[in-house]
Subunit: 424 residues, 2 copies
């Protein structure tokens, strides 16, 4: 009798592996959605009950498998790829106040199958049943979990195992993505089986080198945000790089606190450091999260977490938070099945990320990846004062010089639909 | 019989002096306009038939005379205060495609009586019947005509003769306004009668010093518009200041043309140098005017003319041009009564302004005005690469240092309706 029972269950499980993660329809989604969506958990450490949440959107195409696969990670450390990447930036739908989803005409799934991953645990719907897992989080554990996620995800979606794979992300994903790429190349080298077809990585407004990426006083000055005096203070007393490193080591000097306070005073409460020209949403929840915090809580690495992602409609944050905390939405997403102790948030509140990871210089790893023939795209928004475009450009130039790369096109505006987006 | 005829005519003329310039209603204007509008010509040189066109909007207030009087001039040299200042920027109405006027909730006439002046002749509806008048135009003739305009205008509107007077303008009005202010102070000194109550001047994105105001390579670089290489070329080979001065003296060097070409290539045809983040209007007329010109026609001082005024809706230019060329609109404005040979344009095509005026350094005059107790407000849009905010700030600092001015407030965002406009 036992055997008779076991076989049907096993075959049911196998049958379910990818298909039972299919999203029938997201609440409020528009009619005539022509592509499939999947979401759910991938166990990366079964003994600990450590599980990462993903949202997978197939390419909007007659034959999705003819398109590449892109894994997307948002920065932080500790911010949600589901909230920022998928529902605010480049996923297929964006929630509106009434709970309806509207189509995003710039969705990346018009060109690629999009895999949004909540990583590490503590981010969004990702979690562990072992509370000590939350304590030791750092770049190494994150990269390892992301690698395990990818391998296990391919088990559930074997049809994508041979797809061209792109890794992309923004801000602190400048750490996550190159480190994951490195593990993938190691995996391909170690195992003689089919390689994972990693084609390229793309990093937006990335934190790459704490000595370069965050230097922002000249940028703020040239954008009218700070005074000559504060520019001078930043050049002579404490720049954003020193401030970041002091924050990492939890030994903030009086000088740095003084300069930061001056700078924040001049920027004011209604200027988003991640998007200088963005109007501010007066929603009390958003203001509560980003602005009404004491100076000592506003460590730079926390600011990094609230990345430059809040595009166009600054109040969309509220709509997304509300949407993703709706029980019916969570049900349709196969999310929060273990009933997490806190609500879904854009940036994980109880995440304890080891700060020394933040100080790692990623440039040598980019160099290594380039030498191993992985193309690296660096892109940068022009209104972000946390990782200014000038700094990403300096790093691109350093790499080009070191590796003797030569331009294959001339510096020019990047036009989308005939409009200049000032990406050069 | 003659005498009998003459008296009624004279009295009619006297009666008309201000009232026959009343605008009954502008075609398409909204209902319930609670303030008066006037427009027409003021002869500044009757023998030559030299006449300047004005549009005067009383303050939107129960008692307009309780508000100050502001004279507004747009830059160029050669661009229209009616088209830019009044109908695009801060007048009470803005034309829409269907020829209707919509209310501008930010109209300056909510705070002041606004006098928009088309100056010098050749701008908009202003003209001279003596064609040689167009040849000798320069800062001195413009200031003199503007002064004569003001005195004659007060004859027609004697009720404003005692009003607090503010002078304001943008771009090349950085020349016009201080020079007019200087003549007003001289007039007050020379004539023992009632002084003209000049209270202050305000200059937006002003051309003040050709060595400072136009330097823009660092600004363009920090905004992602140009490459490192072109920044270097601008620093070492030819900067915008040298280019401007070479243009003035019509001896453009090969080096400067080379750097300008590089810069324009990288900026592309769809980026407005006067507003880097403005989407481009694809209207053929606008594109024809600003973009499809050969390099040699694109002298910097002509670029200055197309000032940063095209705010928000880049296609509004077309609507305004169409509106102001409508015969019924011209009739209601008492404009084009002499049937000018060309249509109304934003920037005067046949204006021949003496180029050496453009090279004048206005800073000493600002210093003189400040010493004579005329407050000077310098303000600057944050997206203008022709007169970048960084340059206006440098000039403000120079003046503050020279005159030992001290700040009476701290550097801070300027909030309008709760939104930061990044004006500091």
């Amino acid at each position: 009798m036992k055997l008779l029972l076991v076989f049907p269950l096993l075959s049911l499980f196998f049958f379910c592996s990818a298909s039972c993660e299919v999203i029938k329809a997201l609440p409020g989604q528009p009619a005539n959605v022509g592509f499939k969506q999947y979401s759910g958990y991938i166990l990366v450490q079964p003994q600990h009950g450590r599980a990462l949440f993903y949202y997978f959107v197939e390419a909007d195409s007659a034959n999705p498998l003819a398109n590449p696969l892109t894994l997307w990670l948002n920065g932080g450390p500790g911010c949600s790829s589901l909230g920022f990447g998928a529902f605010m930036e480049h996923g297929p739908f964006q929630p509106r106040e009434d709970g309806h989803l509207v189509k995003n005409q710039y969705s990346w799934n018009l060109e690629s199958n999009m895999l949004y991953l909540e990583s590490p645990i503590g981010v969004g719907f990702s979690y562990s049943n072992t509370s000590s897992d939350y304590l030791g989080l750092n770049d190494a554990t994150t990269a390892k979990d992301n690698m395990q996620f990818l391998l296990n995800w391919f088990e559930e979606f074997p049809q994508y195992r041979n797809s061209d794979l792109y890794l992309s992300g923004e801000s602190y994903a400048g750490h996550y993505i190159p480190q994951l790429a490195d593990l993938i190349l190691d995996y391909n080298k170690r195992f003689s089986g089919r390689p994972i077809k990693l084609k390229a990585i793309a990093l937006g407004n990335p934190l790459l080198d704490p000595d370069i990426s965050v230097i922002n006083a000249e940028f703020l000055w040239s954008h009218g945000v700070i005074s000559d005096e504060t520019l001078l203070l930043s050049k002579t007393v404490c720049n954003a790089s020193r401030h970041l490193k002091e924050s990492i080591h939890q030994n903030l000097s009086k000088e740095c606190i003084h300069v930061l306070n001056k700078l924040e005073e001049e920027m004011g409460s209604y200027t988003d450091p991640g998007d200088l020209i963005l109007p501010i949403c007066f929603s009390p929840t958003l203001l509560g999260q980003t602005f009404f915090q004491g100076t000592h809580n506003r460590l730079h690495w926390k600011q990094l977490a609230m990345s430059s992602a809040v595009a166009n409609d600054p109040c969309r944050v509220d709509e997304i938070r509300q949407y993703l905390n709706t029980p019916k939405v969570q049900e349709s997403l196969h999310a929060n099945t273990t009933h997490l102790s806190s609500v879904w948030e854009f940036c994980g509140g109880h995440l304890s990320y080891q700060r020394d990871s933040i100080g790692i210089n990623i440039i040598p790893l980019l160099s290594k990846l380039l030498k191993r023939s992985i193309p690296v795209l660096l892109f940068n928004g022009d209104q972000d004062s946390k990782i200014p475009l000038t700094q990403t450009r300096i790093i691109a130039n350093m790499l080009a010089k070191e590796l003797k790369l030569v331009p294959f096109g001339s510096y020019a505006p990047w036009l989308v639909g005939g409009l200049s987006h000032l990406a050069k």
